[in-house]
Amino acid sequence: MFYQILVNGLIAGAIYALVAAGFSLIYSTVKFVHFAHGGVIALSAYMLYLFYSMLGLPFWLAAIVAILSGSIFGVAIDYFIYRPLRKRRASPTIILVASVSVLLLLESFNLIFFGADVKSINFLDIGTGLTLGPVIITSLQIFIVASSISLLILLFAFMKYTKMGKAMRAVADNKSVAEIVGISSERIYTWSFALGSLIAGFAAVLIALEQNIEPTMGTALMIKGFTASIIGGVESVAGGVLGAFLLGLAENLGIWWLPSSYKDAIAFVILFIFLLFRPEGILGVKKSNK
């Protein structure tokens, strides 16, 4: 039983990690809470439903379209909403309020165009599990954990070794200095939205396969991804990933005692505790000027 909980925590953590990684990547450069990230995931999941289940495209093609559309939505939100706000020097708090509105906007669009009922993508048979020693796990879940981990490794390599990754880290570290050496911060913002939302699209495809698609999934996922980032340290992608796995484990251990619908509340109680006592997260560095 204990091992099964551990494995369930790992699967949940892998999904949260994908949400948190994209979110943290964006936060680290732009320095405001892009709450609508969850909305981008939901919308991408609906794109998969649209192209695969409704229009009958081959699954892999539909998945690629969904992932790319995630990236496009992210960049569009930045361009049409956040950029005008940045231009008039709005505070991060205002941008947070704006981003909650965007999330509501996306949710309402999903409701209007796709209806309130729960959709599922029946591409893989998720009913039968493999028995590995004391635990039962489906091949899709193994795929989720494996692809989540490989994508995260790719992301780290990108951030560490490519020119764009280095420029992103430079802007994240010190925007003014990065601009002095000739890095355009606006351009980097666009790229981080593109890349962060691409990861969101990838997360959307995996979530659509493993769970159901529903209009409010964006808010629920965002709460998890955000909590994970805060636990690990919102300024770093590594922190977000660490936080995601910890959160996945904490939730699955928690519903040992509590009804499973309390899962979300567990996330928020942990979020509360971290925001109050260690807002910089586990990996974060305390800033004296905050």
């Binding site: 909403i81 205002i94 309020v97 909650v100 409701l111 209806g115 979300d264 807002p279």
Partner: protein, 290 residues
């Protein structure tokens, strides 16, 4: 027929005016970015409904609704005394989500997602407000009283102190003012009025369920407060009337009722985004949101 519908709208507007004025006190006058305002509204509604269903007289239920909301605001203020800005906004959102989870999960008390039906219409000193017209009078009187009380407070020296804390907390501290006490008082009073609004809502509709008090319900109220303008009471009232009536026009254009709800949310989200981008002071505002 039309007049019955009109009375219904006026009652909702009255309840919304109380809710928006309450948020105005915390957000506009005291600068507390409380995105969890709906939690107080919900606590007021549930407290009042549960007490009324167990046989308490309306006036006591009504005041208890306000008092419970106030008590929770006091606790929230205690735990958030050290944080501000977007972190505070996030913790208040988290608070709202925790309250929502409790409504959904405390089955024995709240009947979870089934909601509480059969909440009695109020009776005060033997007079029953069972028809909508008399209920409208009740709501109008209470909304008027709340308006006068908030106006009295914000015009008083204490109101100026609130604004001083909003504009420059450090300066207010240097002048020897206990800014924590000031903000706690403001948030608690704001929650009290929101709780009263919740009670009026519950006894009017006679049925409540958690969906009326979800996190995203903050967007309509925040739109009203920001569109009307921070620290403007007449602006808030006018914005409530206008923003409640605009989505109603959709009903007459002939949209099916299943998309009316999401359409309404889209309107509120768009209005809020546009005002944040193009006119952050709102229409009658004295200060900008920070």
């Amino acid at each position: 027929m039309l007049s019955a519908y009109f009375i219904h709208l006026l009652i909702l507007i009255g309840i919304y005016i109380i809710l928006a004025l309450a948020l105005q006190l915390a957000l506009g006058y005291s600068g507390i970015l409380n995105l969890g305002h709906i939690a107080f509204y919900g606590l007021g509604a549930y407290t009042s409904a549960l007490l009324a269903l167990s046989g308490w007289p309306f006036l006591l239920c009504f005041l208890a609704g306000g008092a419970v909301a106030m008590g929770s605001a006091f606790l929230l203020s205690l735990i958030t005394s050290k944080i501000k800005g977007d972190y505070l906004a996030l913790v208040t959102m988290g608070f709202c989500f925790v309250i929502y989870s409790l409504m959904l999960n405390l089955d024995e008390l709240t009947r979870g997602p089934l909601g509480l039906p059969g909440i009695p219409r109020p009776t005060i000193f033997g007079f029953s407000f069972s028809d909508n017209f008399s209920y409208l009078i009740l709501v109008t009187i209470i909304a008027g009283l709340v308006y006068l009380i908030i106006k009295r407070i914000t015009d008083s020296p204490f109101g100026k102190l609130l604004e001083a804390v909003r504009d420059n907390e450090l300066a207010a501290k240097i002048l020897g003012k206990d800014t924590f006490k000031v903000k706690t008082f403001s948030l608690a009073l704001s929650a009290f009025f929101a709780g009263l609004a919740g009670s009026l809502y519950a006894h009017y509709i006679t049925f409540i369920d958690p969906s009326s008090f979800s996190l995203m319900q903050i967007i309509p109220i925040a739109s009203i407060v920001i569109v009307g303008g921070l620290a403007s009471l007449p602006g808030t009232v006018l914005a409530t009337v206008v923003l409640t009536l605009i989505p109603e026009a959709l009903r007459f254009v002939g949209f099916p009722s299943s998309i009316l709800g999401p359409m309404r949310q889209i309107i509120y989200a768009l209005v809020l985004l546009l005002i944040l981008i193009y006119r952050p002071k709102g229409f009658f505002g004295k200060v900008e949101l920070e």
